[in-house]
């Protein structure tokens, strides 16, 4: 199983809550990670392009963009395939965390 790059995983996470345009994804990721992962447009759109190619996300039809939003931009939403990929990645990480827990690595974090 291929692992997802952290940036890609974060992009998918950002789209879980609903459709978003590029800048909104950038902001969402920056906020969620406390600025640790900062996507600049160049990298972001390269990932979006690959996610689109792989069918993990798709682009909203212009007509179905909700009223009153910024319709000049392209909006993206996650596909079933994308949800599956994110889920797989989450599972992989969860397993990893389980292993780590077994080694007592989380003990002093109070969980």
């Amino acid at each position: 199983m291929t692992t997802l790059k952290p940036e890609v995983f974060h992009i998918l996470l950002a789209l879980m809550d609903g459709e978003r345009h590029g800048y909104a994804i950038m902001n969402d990721v920056a906020q969620r990670t406390g600025g640790e992962i900062k996507l600049l447009p160049g990298v972001l759109y390269r990932h979006l392009h690959r996610l689109l190619d792989g069918g993990l996300i798709d682009e909203l039809d212009r007509r179905s963009i909700p009223e009153g939003t910024d319709e000049r931009r392209r909006y993206y939403r996650v596909t079933d395939g994308g949800v599956a990929a994110a889920r797989a990645e989450t599972l992989r990480m969860a397993k990893l965390v389980e292993v780590a827990k077994g080694k007592d690595l989380l003990a002093d974090l109070g969980s």
Binding site: T2, K5, H21, G22, Y23, M26, N27, L40, P41, G42, V43, L44, Y45, R46, L48, H49, R50, L51, D53, G54, L56, R72, R73, R74
Partner: protein
């Protein structure tokens, strides 16, 4: 706050938009706009929260560039999702990408260094791109006509008076018949007139052209048509072709204009065509009318009336040299028949492009040399920065080499870093260039022909990229070589700081200082020469006093004022009306004001002239003036008297006023008053009643021809310039002046309203333009050189802190140490000044044609510039040296 400045923001946005071009076109189409929007939103957010916009923008530009190039590479293979790592099949490419990544990461780690280096480079590269754009648009680009290299202009050359002249109608017709090399030959004459009947009367500039003028240039009308041959005949010639600009300005771009009748010079004319927006020849023309030569013009006896510019197109396959040879054979036929009165006359063909831009080349190349020097200094500075940085990274490099990175790898890393810097610098430099270009165009004030055609096209982009790459390699070479010599054992053992490499690097840096001081000196000398010659030019006494004088032009319609008596009457009435207006001390009229660019002339025969032994008749600038002209514009009356009202009467005895130059050359020992001058063999004989001071008419830096003034009334011109002298600001006189003209004839258009000082300003505009630009570039060079010397000295001091501390601790006098340090530090600057002086002596001669009243090796300027640079060098050494001697000895000893 400077980073909130809207112009800076726009510029950053444009730069970002440019960097997005690094992505593959398909990618750009799909995401480019959103990426740009995302960038703008981020900028907006940062501004709202008060964070730095500039650093962020530069980072984003760099990121876009790197990502774009990677994407471009990946785009070659369709490879979905997964990680992009599989797409690098070639190790070389992979290495390259890795090096670039490593370099970019390194720059991100030291953003201060990166920003300083990138901005310095952007300045140097941008200046080059801007001047190259001008060179490209003005000198290198062909004229905007199909096969424009076939276009040739024909002039008459009179070597005796060193004059290039226009062509007369009979001569033009001879060339049409006799030539074997041209597929078409057309002529063009000046045309000015008034457009009436639609609101305020408007004064219009145009050109009279023969019917095949547009065919020779090979341009079609955008709307309607150009002239038909049958319209190029007197009587059928009341047709006009309009320029696009004029069509828009005057008729709001109404497409119904074709076929409409408009009043031009009080005659109905039909508009038959509108030219495309990019057509402008001659550049000031707002409309064109058929030349339709009259019988008087074609009369062979009127061969002396030379007023046509002749444009020809060579037949396919005929070279310019062949055309020259053909015109030489025509010269051989015509010369003995018609031009034997002067020696050496010939038809002189000139490539049309040379005709358009001939005089401007030396100036543009000088400017280009200046910006190249600035760029070289920039390179030196960035190389210095890199060297200093590399010194602190010796250990890192050594470790990499030791771990098997290889020397080649080390060189690659160093070069990758410098190239990444210079390419980003180049991208930002494009933004700098576009701003500079706007400033240049604004400053230019009609100095550079074809400036409207200057733009940043593909060639400029390619040039910029090449310069950026070359720059990167140039300033990266030293640090790269240094990296190659890295010796793991030394570097690691010596703790990095005191390795032998450090000394070598310092030597390299000192050499760089020598180079940059020498370059800056040459540039400063060039700028100094330009400023001095501009100053000299302003000091020239033009022979008149333009202050407090207002000038305005009137073109009299040939239907309302057909002859000299009517014109003279009208002009006198206007003058009388003007005199009555408040605030006006004196008024007068003349047909061609000094420095106005107009210069009608005719040959003349002064009394006692030795016709038998002279090659031909002397040429004079012949002026038509009203009484009071000399007083109004402040020309000195040396002897005799001014014209009076009485002299203007047609039946008054013909009188004339000459300038001192005429007297000195023709009647050096005689009383000039009472001498006569004739313009025609049959008379009349004008007797001299006054002598006035010489003036500079064509250019401030050139003596004028003999000036001979005749009173208005005996002669007249269709376009006259009125001059009004008041007490204060001449602009205040324009309302009363207009009022006076309106009172006499409400339909008369007034134009060219301006203080007379503006003529002088225009005459000095090219020199001012040169001086300002060179001064700016030299200033930049001086600052960069100062920064360079300072940087090297600071670095050298920081390495010697310990030593200095020991000496101080052992009781060395602070002042003595300081003197020694500065004395040593300033040595490279002294060497640089010496080399620079030698270089300046060798190179400034190439700008001799741009100078006036100053020698290219003016010792005063050389000395002054040398002193300035030495002073800057001493100051740049003094500051870090003083800091070093101020340090507490104990602290210095602990310093590592």
């Amino acid at each position: 706050m400077s980073q909130q400045h809207p112009a800076a923001i726009t510029w950053l946005q444009n730069t970002y938009r440019l960097t997005l071009r690094s992505f593959p076109p398909g990618f750009q189409d799909r995401y480019g706009r959103d990426m740009y929007e995302a960038f703008i939103d981020s900028l907006r957010q940062r501004r709202a929260t008060g964070k730095s916009v500039i650093v962020f923008s530069l980072l984003a530009c760099g990121e876009a560039l790197v990502q774009g190039l990677q994407e471009r590479w990946a785009w070659r293979e369709v490879h979905p999702l997964a990680s992009s790592r599989h797409s690098w099949e070639f190790p070389a490419v992979r290495n390259l990408i890795n090096d670039v990544r490593y370099a970019v990461r390194g720059l991100f780690r030291t953003p201060g260094f990166a920003v300083v280096a990138i901005l310095t480079l952007a300045l140097g590269i941008g200046a080059n791109s801007a001047i190259f754009s001008v060179l490209n648009g003005v000198v290198m680009k062909p004229l905007p006509y199909p096969d424009s290299d076939e276009l040739v202009m024909l002039w008459h050359w009179y070597p005796e008076v060193d004059m290039q002249a226009s062509v007369s109608v009979p001569a033009f017709q001879d060339y049409q018949e006799m030539n074997r090399v041209f597929s078409g030959i057309a002529a063009m004459g000046g045309l000015a007139g008034n457009l009436t009947g639609a609101g305020e009367p408007v004064r219009v500039q145009g050109a009279l052209v023969t019917a095949d003028f547009f065919r020779v240039l090979t341009v079609e009308a955008a709307l309607g048509r150009t002239f038909a041959p049958e319209e190029d005949v007197a009587g059928a010639d009341q047709v006009l072709v309009l320029s696009d600009r004029f069509w828009h300005r005057q008729f709001g771009g109404d497409p119904g204009i074709i076929g409409r009748e408009i009043q031009f010079n009080d005659l109905p004319h039909t508009v038959v065509g509108v030219m495309p927006p990019d057509f402008g020849y001659p550049s000031a023309a707002e409309l064109w009318r058929p030349a339709a030569f009259t019988a008087a013009q074609t009369d062979p006896r009127n061969r002396g009336r030379e007023f046509l510019a002749v444009i020809a197109r060579t037949k396919p396959g005929v070279t310019f040299e062949q055309a020259e040879a053909d015109m030489a054979s025509i010269t051989a036929i015509l010369e003995p028949e018609h031009y034997s009165w002067t020696t050496g006359w010939r038809v002189s063909p000139m490539r049309m492009i040379d005709n358009a831009i001939g005089g401007i080349r030396p100036m543009l190349w000088t400017l280009f040399a200046a910006v190249v020097a600035v760029l070289l200094i920039t390179c030196v500075n960035v190389a210095n920065l890199l060297l200093a940085r590399a010194a602190s990274r010796d250990r890192e490099v050594a470790v990499r080499v030791a771990l098997g990175g290889g020397r080649l790898g080390a060189i690659r890393h160093a070069l990758a870093e410098s190239i990444v810097l210079s390419v980003i610098g180049g991208v930002v430099g494009l933004g700098v260039a576009s701003v500079m270009l706007k400033v240049l165009v604004a400053l230019n004030a009609g100095t550079i022909p074809r400036i409207a055609e200057v733009s940043m096209d593909v060639r400029v982009l390619a040039f910029t990229f090449a310069v950026a790459l070359g720059t990167g390699i140039l300033f990266g070479a030293l640090p790269a070589l240094r990296a190659a010599r890295a010796n793991p054992r030394d570097a690691l053992a010596a703790g990095g700081v005191k390795s032998s490499l450090g000394h070598k690097s310092l030597r390299a840096q000192r050499t760089l200082v020598v180079a940059e001081v020498a370059l800056a000196l040459m540039l400063l000398v060039g700028a100094g020469l330009m400023v001095r010659s501009f100053d000299r030019l302003l000091d020239v006494d033009p022979g008149f006093e333009p202050d407090n004088v207002l000038a305005l032009d009137l073109t009299l319609s040939s239907t309302t004022y057909p002859g000299t008596p009517e014109r003279a009457r009208f002009i006198q009435r206007v003058l009388g009306e003007m005199e009555r207006q408040p605030g006006i001390n004196s008024v007068a009229a003349i047909d061609a004001l000094p420095l106005s660019g107009r210069n009608p002339s005719s040959s003349f025969g002064p009394e006692g002239y030795d016709y038998d032994n002279a090659p031909g008749l002397p040429q004079s600038a012949r002026r038509i003036v009203s009484p009071g002209y000399f007083e109004t514009v402040g020309i000195n009356l040396i002897r005799g008297r001014d014209f009076t009202e009485h002299d203007m009467a047609v039946d008054a005895p013909p009188v004339i006023i000459v300038d001192q130059h005429t007297v000195t050359d023709f009647w050096p020992d005689d009383e000039p008053l009472g001498k006569w001058i004739a313009f025609d063999q049959d008379g009349p004989y004008y007797s001299v009643v006054g002598v006035v001071g010489d003036i500079r008419h064509q250019r401030l830096d050139q003596q004028s021809r003999y000036h001979i003034y005749t009173p208005l009334g005996h002669q007249s011109a269709a376009t006259m310039t009125f001059v009004l002298r008041g007490r204060g600001d001449p602009a205040l006189l324009s309302a009363p002046a207009r009022q006076a003209v309106k009172a006499v004839d409400p339909s008369q258009a007034v134009f060219g309203l301006q203080p007379m000082t503006q003529y002088k300003e225009r005459a000095t505009a090219p020199q001012r333009f040169n001086a300002i630009l060179l001064l700016v570039f030299a200033g930049v060079a001086l600052v960069l050189a100062a920064v360079g010397v300072y940087g090297v000295m600071s670095y050298a001091m920081s390495r010697r802190t310990q030593e200095i501390g020991i000496r101080m601790a052992l009781g060395a006098e602070g002042g003595t140490v300081l003197r020694q340090l500065v004395g040593r530090g300033v040595v490279p600057a002294i060497v640089g000044v010496g080399i620079g002086l030698a270089g300046a002596v060798l190179t400034t001669r190439f700008m001799a044609s741009l100078l006036f009243g100053v020698s290219p090796t003016d010792p005063l300027i050389m000395a002054a510039v040398a002193i300035v640079l030495l002073a800057v060098g001493v100051a740049a050494c003094y500051v870090p040296a003083r800091r070093a001697t101020r340090i507490d000895p104990m602290e210095a000893l602990r310093y590592e």
